[in-house]
Symmetry: C2
Subunit: 93 residues, 2 copies
Amino acid sequence: MFEPLDPLLHNQLRLQIMSLLIGIENAEFGFLLDETGSTRGNLSVQLNKLKEAGYIEIEKGYKGNYPNTKCSISALGRNAFSTYFEALKSYKP
Amino acid sequence: MFEPLDPLLHNQLRLQIMSLLIGIENAEFGFLLDETGSTRGNLSVQLNKLKEAGYIEIEKGYKGNYPNTKCSISALGRNAFSTYFEALKSYKP
DNA sequence: TATTTTTGTTTATTTTATAAACTTGTTTAC
DNA sequence: GTAAACAAGTTTATAAAATAAACAAAAATA
């Protein structure tokens, strides 16, 4: 009847992150911070959860002299994201 | 950019409850229990949260000799539910 | 060189979800 | 008629999650 909703995606910030990443090659930490309006701490935690799940990849490098983190969605993540919205349909009136 | 997702509805069980109630006059506790596959405890807690928010009404009566609880969605709830799905669109690719 | 900025991470607190235990009353079996 | 099992929930306790606050390390700036 009701399709289960991936708990990892069923969170506003993580869903925002995935939504941003899906349409883009990769995104910097700062960009995600701006677009989501989140705090650094929360963003850091949630990015790592998505990474642990294999939904995104995180590349740590430098931009000029400053540390810089680039995130990109994985095939697994892309799939989970689409499955999530598919599942949501089963809750619709 | 991203529409906020009503935290009360952004929970699998509560969303199931609302989804069931929206297409029906009212539903008994036992029916909701069956359809959602939830435990009694969790169902009880989440129904009360929805009631506190004014999203549903709860009528306690009897069915034969046994206590019996009937739930129905309110106008506010109906509205919140539709707003929730509207908001979700802003997360879609 | 002291202070402020940048870019994050880690830890601590609060909130939430869930499950386990309890309550009240009703049947049914002995 | 009383003990055991069942029904329908509620309450409380535990586990998990989300979020915010504090911290860190290096860089820029005054």
